[in-house]
């Protein structure tokens, strides 16, 4: 099938390898990948800050781009939640409401798409490392993704998954991390502590934004830990 891949701004700029890995995996599975030039953003920053009109200015462009897409795969659980869960709210009472609902029904986060839509769990990947998994909050609680990434990791040769003792937010939270940097940092420290307790080498996630926050703290505090997106692992063979 033709898969429309949505690459959010921070993946585009900071983590292109994540998007590239997704393209390679989808093509390897025999699908045609398309990637709209624009827009760069799903509109979540304005939405989360309360500026819904301004958010719609961006989001409406994305909706129009995606209106004929067969399926939309989103390279981030958080942007995925924005499009799948919040677009219907954002566009409620506007002429685009029906389109928003239609498009949101065809949106999937990457790991969810592989497992739940394609029924694929084994990509023949190898990653001989101890890892722990961070559930991005929007993936987990808005998109309700829990099993899919774990099933994919189970089939990665050499990968050993050690779960953290608690499921908590990494403290990123988009604009929250800038509005309340000290609370955000404290939350990140708690998260890093939990990850370090597992003695894993890598924190894996389906959300590059969470990983950016975790990695930012790790680098500053020189902790013995690395971060990696699940797609990057799956593309390794």
């Amino acid at each position: 099938m033709t898969v429309t891949l949505f690459i959010p701004c921070f993946v585009d700029l900071l983590y292109p390898q994540v998007g590239i890995a997704m393209v390679k995996i989808l093509e390897k599975l025999g699908h045609k990948v398309e990637c709209p030039d624009s827009p760069a953003c799903c509109g979540q920053p304005a939405f989360n800050t309360g500026y819904w009109d301004e958010s719609r200015d961006v989001a409406v462009k994305l909706l129009e781009q995606l209106k004929d897409a067969e399926v939309v795969v989103i390279a981030s659980g958080s942007c995925g939640a924005m499009m799948k869960v919040f677009y219907p709210d954002l566009f409620a009472g506007t002429p685009h409401h029906a389109l928003a609902r239609q498009v949101s029904g065809r949106c999937f986060e990457f790991s969810q798409f592989l497992v739940d839509q394609l029924g694929v769990t084994d990509l023949g990947a190898q990653f001989p490392h101890r890892v722990t998994f961070h559930d991005g909050c929007h993936s987990l609680r808005e998109m309700r993704i829990h099993a899919a990434p774990r099933r994919l990791m189970q089939r990665v040769q050499g990968l050993e998954l050690i779960e953290m003792k608690q499921t908590v937010c990494c403290g990123f939270g988009g604009t929250f991390s800038a509005k309340f940097p000290m609370i955000s940092t404290a939350m990140g420290e708690v998260k890093c502590g939990l990850a370090l307790d597992t003695s894993a080498e890598y924190v894996v996630s389906c959300d590059s934004s969470c990983l950016m926050h975790i990695q930012g703290l790790i680098d500053r505090q020189k902790k013995p830990l690395k971060t990696i997106h699940l797609a990057e692992i799956l593309a390794q063979s």
């Binding site: 509109g43 000290m182 939350m187």
Partner: protein
């Protein structure tokens, strides 16, 4: 920023970096989580229980007029005097009035968040009454002259050493810092108070419409004693406490205890339907029930957030909230801290003054998941943000988002300003990184920022095509 927001930020900065505070709260709540999970697992269907509880509260709140009327008629039929208060001031006046009429000297009180909400103790003390909190945690924070730290565990932020200190200072009695001995000191002091008190004041966890009863949940027996010994009993509760039927408590009592304290059921769950009845051995001669609105009807009028009146004040959302766990209960400066407080305080006490609480969230949704009555907490925070910026937009933020739209939707502009511009800016970033001159200081003060990739995804995609 409002004064409340300034105070919040100041305390949040201090406490989120306080590692001792962090260890204390994370430690206490980790212990709670183990117990909660253990008890939740006993339910045959916890998610099903949440749905039933949500439906029951929905029914009650969405037919509140009918159920309130039924509740009050039931109480009055058995000799209870019911008072209605639209405002905190009215509620205080009613209660001070009752104590005056009874020529009360001393008053014993069991834990009631609603009483905190209307600052009842100050009013009673100001009117010359001696008021003592009987719940151990509340008693401790009262001695320390501070507000409860948590709606279920008021003294959670204190160590035994700090409690010993305040007992020494205020009671001149603290044999050691063992929790057992300190509890026994409080027991001795408070026993005298119960026996002497003229008026007993309690809150309520539920109001049973069908039978006209208030239901009070506690572990210590202090509310039982408060309701047993003084000649006059007053119960203060918000109008949203209604459940339709007595049997609804079969569901709510164990759910409240499970998520509230990690117990299957609390030590004492007691329904009071009136003053001492003919043929009964004891109990108060008079029973007064004070029903408080204090802007609850304003929340009721907001259909989108009406479910925030389902709240049973269990504290589950506080316990799982990573913000609460890092900034602590006092930082909020509200009666109800944590997610539920961040949702309802702007609606109870002013959106612009309290909107910062709705912004102070990573929107992680742990609260929504924990709520036993399925209040859509995390989404209500988003709605408060929307309402706040609609009502009073910030010029700068709005401009920023207005300018962002063409940037994000025009690929050439994005490529020029963000991708290429970002790379250019990055060359100089090293000079100011992590200093106050750094435009990204809020991030880089404590965290590193990854570099912009040499080839962005879009550049790669274009090249490949």
């Amino acid at each position: 920023m409002s004064t409340a927001a300034v105070a919040f930020k100041k305390d949040a900065v201090r406490l989120s970096a306080d590692l001792r505070h962090r260890a204390l709260i994370q430690g206490a709540l980790s212990k709670y989580e183990l117990k909660r999970d253990e008890k939740q697992a006993l339910f045959q269907d916890w998610q099903g229980a949440r749905q039933l509880a949500a439906e029951t509260k929905w029914e009650a709140v969405n037919h509140l007029d009918t159920y309130l009327d039924q509740f009050v008629r039931g109480l009055e039929a058995r000799g209870t005097k019911v008072h209605w208060a639209s405002t905190a001031q009215q509620a205080r006046d009613i209660m001070v009035g009752i104590c005056r009429e009874k020529s009360a000297r001393s008053i014993v009180k069991s834990k009631a968040m609603t009483a905190e909400e209307i600052h009842l103790n100050e009013a009673l003390e100001h009117a010359g009454f001696d008021v003592v909190e009987s719940d151990l945690g509340e008693f401790i924070v009262q001695l320390r002259e501070e507000a409860p730290y948590h709606i279920v565990f008021p003294a959670m932020h204190l160590t035994r050493g700090e409690i010993k200190d305040v007992f020494e200072r205020k009671l001149h009695d603290a044999p050691s810092d063992s929790p057992e001995e300190l509890t026994m000191v409080a027991r001795r002091v408070l026993r005298q108070k119960y026996v002497q008190a003229d008026v007993g004041i309690t809150g309520a966890n539920f109001a049973v419409a069908e039978t006209g009863m208030v239901s009070v949940t506690e572990n210590e027996g202090n509310a039982r004693l408060t309701a047993a010994l003084p000649k006059t009993m007053i119960t203060l509760l918000g109008i949203e406490k209604i459940v339709p039927r007595l049997e609804d408590l079969a569901l709510f009592l164990p759910m409240l205890a499970t998520v509230g304290a990690g117990q299957l059921i609390s030590g004492y769950n007691t329904m009071y339907g009136g003053p001492r009845q003919p043929g009964e051995a004891d109990g108060p001669e008079e029973f007064h029930v004070v029903l408080l609105d204090n802007n609850r009807t304003a929340i009721l009028a907001d259909a989108e957030q009406r479910d925030s009146l389902h709240c049973i004040r269990c504290g589950a959302c506080l316990n799982v909230c990573p913000i609460y766990r890092n900034v602590g209960g006092h930082t909020y400066g509200t009666t109800y801290p944590g997610p539920i407080g961040s949702v309802i305080t702007p609606n109870l006490r002013g959106l612009q003054e309290w909107k910062h609480l709705s912004y102070s969230s990573s929107l992680c949704g742990a609260c929504t998941e924990a709520c036993p009555v399925k209040i859509d907490l995390a989404h209500h925070l988003l709605q408060n943000r929307r309402n706040a910026s609609r009502q009073k937009p910030s010029f700068l933020q709005r401009m920023a988002f207005k300018l962002f739209a063409p940037l994000a939707t025009k690929p050439w502009l994005w490529s020029l300003l963000v991708t290429k511009g970002g790379r250019f800016g990055q060359i100089f970033h090293g000079l100011v990184k992590g200093t106050r001159l750094d435009p990204a200081y809020v991030w880089t003060k404590t965290r590193d920022l990854p570099p912009i990739a040499r080839q962005s995804f879009k550049e790669w995609w274009k090249e490949r095509k």
